[in-house]
């Protein structure tokens, strides 16, 4: 019953979020600010994680398939496939759920407990739309760029680690990257990213928007936002993979 209540309340919040904005220019300005805060400022962690994760994928693949029967280019091939299909869109989205999701829930939750959302409502502002819509637009636009950068850096990190440690020859790795490449896999990854960005932003905003109490509850909302975003991302990953790849 409680789950149904939350699902209903979530969709009612979305209805308010997508209702007509009062002043488009103000929404647009807020969207640009959110693109910087939620997108550009996540670039560092995405770059760092992607490069190291690519390196680990390469080293682990090589150590686990070290057989004369397996061709040398397989390491590059496995690194590319793992990075494009799963690591960059899904793992990076899970990490962004932690960084961006908790930020959104904490910001909106603090505004709720400090009565700033009440102040917006009393002024006649659609508080849900004003606070949440720019964040949705920002993450849906920015996360695909972050994931593309992650794909590049993941594969580059793998190549660098492989060549520097001497476990793979550069030409073999590059051949593996190019072999049997399907552009649709990138499209699939970006589609997943857009859906995951929507999930992260709306679920986190929902938990922040309906925070009741004080600072302790803001912390609880923030944690819930990350946990529920992660669970829904993993469920959506299975559904989207079935729909798009099978």
């Amino acid at each position: 019953m409680s789950t149904l209540f939350h699902i209903g309340q979530y969709f009612m919040l979305l209805r308010d979020v997508f209702s007509r904005p009062e002043r488009l220019s103000l929404y647009w300005r807020r969207t640009l600010e959110e693109m910087d805060l939620l997108g550009v400022k996540s670039l560092g962690i995405v770059a760092l994680l992607s490069a190291f994760m690519g390196a680990v994928i390469t080293i682990q693949t090589k150590t686990n398939i070290d057989s004369p029967l397996i061709q040398a280019w397989v390491v590059g091939f496995a690194t590319r496939q793992s990075t494009i299909l799963e690591f960059s869109p899904t793992v990076i989205s899970l990490i962004l759920a932690g960084k961006v999701g908790s930020n959104i829930a904490a910001e909106i939750g603090s505004m709720r407990v400090k009565e700033q959302i009440d102040a917006l409502d009393i002024m006649g502002v659609n508080s849900a739309g004003y606070l949440i819509l720019p964040k949705i637009v920002a993450t849906v636009l920015m996360n695909p760029f972050l994931v593309m950068i992650s794909m590049f850096l993941g594969i580059f990190g793998g190549w660098l680690a492989g060549v520097q440690t001497g476990i793979v020859v550069s030409d073999d790795f590059i051949m593996g990257i190019q072999l049997g490449f399907k552009p649709f896999h990138v499209v699939y990854a970006l589609l997943k990213t857009v859906v995951f960005a929507f999930i992260i932003t709306t679920i986190s905003a929902y938990h922040g928007y309906f925070t009741r109490g004080g600072t302790r509850e803001v912390g609880i909302s923030s944690t819930r936002a990350v946990v529920y975003s992660d669970v829904v991302i993993l469920l959506a990953n299975v559904v989207l993979t079935q729909l798009l790849l099978l």
């Binding site: 009565e115 009440d118 102040a119 009393i122 006649g124």
Partner: protein
């Protein structure tokens, strides 16, 4: 003028407000007083539409607020200014941006006109040369004054103040009380102040409603308040030693 008719509100099994009826007059400081937890803030939140009452209705100039459509409600809300207990200034915006916010959202002014209007409002509450400061850099009293400036930026017809003196020293409280009274007279607003501060009641209370256990227990003005024989009201009003001294001197005067 705001009219409340038979208002009732419950949260779960707890009946917070019961059958409250009152008329709040234009150009007057109307005060809702009562102990903590008596339901006065819930009453104010029902009046501005943040809570939906289960019984009764709230009429703005004769129009039932809760029966209005979304757009009509927004139009009424644009005529309401509200000062919150914690000021509720937007942390990410500086002083001038906070005051300009309702103008930018709903006004038709140019940027320079909006800045001029914001400066007039800030000057009215005696805040000058603080435009670029953020709320966290202001004292509690200054935050309240900026809150008042934001509330009057759109020249509201109705001004709600929720515990305007909470957390302020007595001198700053008097400054805020004076501002509320002056603004009510200047703009002719229907002002509703929720408070349990008896100093504030004595300073500004022209029309006072005492809420007790979710019901309207008493209604009158300052003079009647001091001479009332209502037991619950007297226990609330004369709880402090200063007010007891006032009571004693009134008795001595006969």
């Amino acid at each position: 003028m705001i009219t409340v008719e038979g208002l009732g509100k419950r949260f779960g099994s707890v009946q917070v407000l019961q059958d409250i009826s009152a008329v709040f007059h234009k150009g007057k400081v109307n005060q809702i007083i009562g102990r903590s937890g008596s339901g006065k803030s819930v009453l104010a939140k029902c009046m501005v539409g943040l809570h939906r009452p289960e019984q009764g209705r709230v009429l703005y100039e004769g129009e039932s607020f809760h029966d209005m459509g979304l757009e009509e409600k927004r139009a009424v809300r644009q005529r309401i200014g509200m000062l919150f207990q914690g000021s509720a200034l937007f942390d990410s915006q500086n002083v001038i941006e906070n005051v300009m916010f309702p103008l930018r959202m709903f006004g038709t002014m140019s940027r320079s006109e909006m800045e001029d209007r914001a400066h007039i409002c800030l000057k009215r509450v005696n805040i000058v040369d603080k435009d670029r400061l953020f709320p966290a850099e202001l004292s509690g009293g200054m935050q309240k004054r900026v809150g008042i400036a934001r509330a009057i930026a759109m020249e509201p017809q109705y001004l709600f103040c929720d515990e305007p003196n909470s957390g302020l020293d007595p001198q700053t409280s008097i400054v805020i009380d004076d501002l509320i009274r002056e603004i009510t007279e200047e703009f002719g607003t229907t002002t509703i102040v929720i408070t349990h501060d008896m100093n504030s009641v004595m300073e500004t209370g022209e029309h006072i409603i005492f809420i007790h256990k979710g019901r309207k227990w008493w209604e009158g003005d300052r003079d009647k308040l001091l001479r009332s024989d209502n037991q619950e009201l007297n226990e609330f009003v004369f709880a402090g030693s200063l007010m007891r001294a006032v009571k004693r001197s009134l008795k001595e005067e006969g």
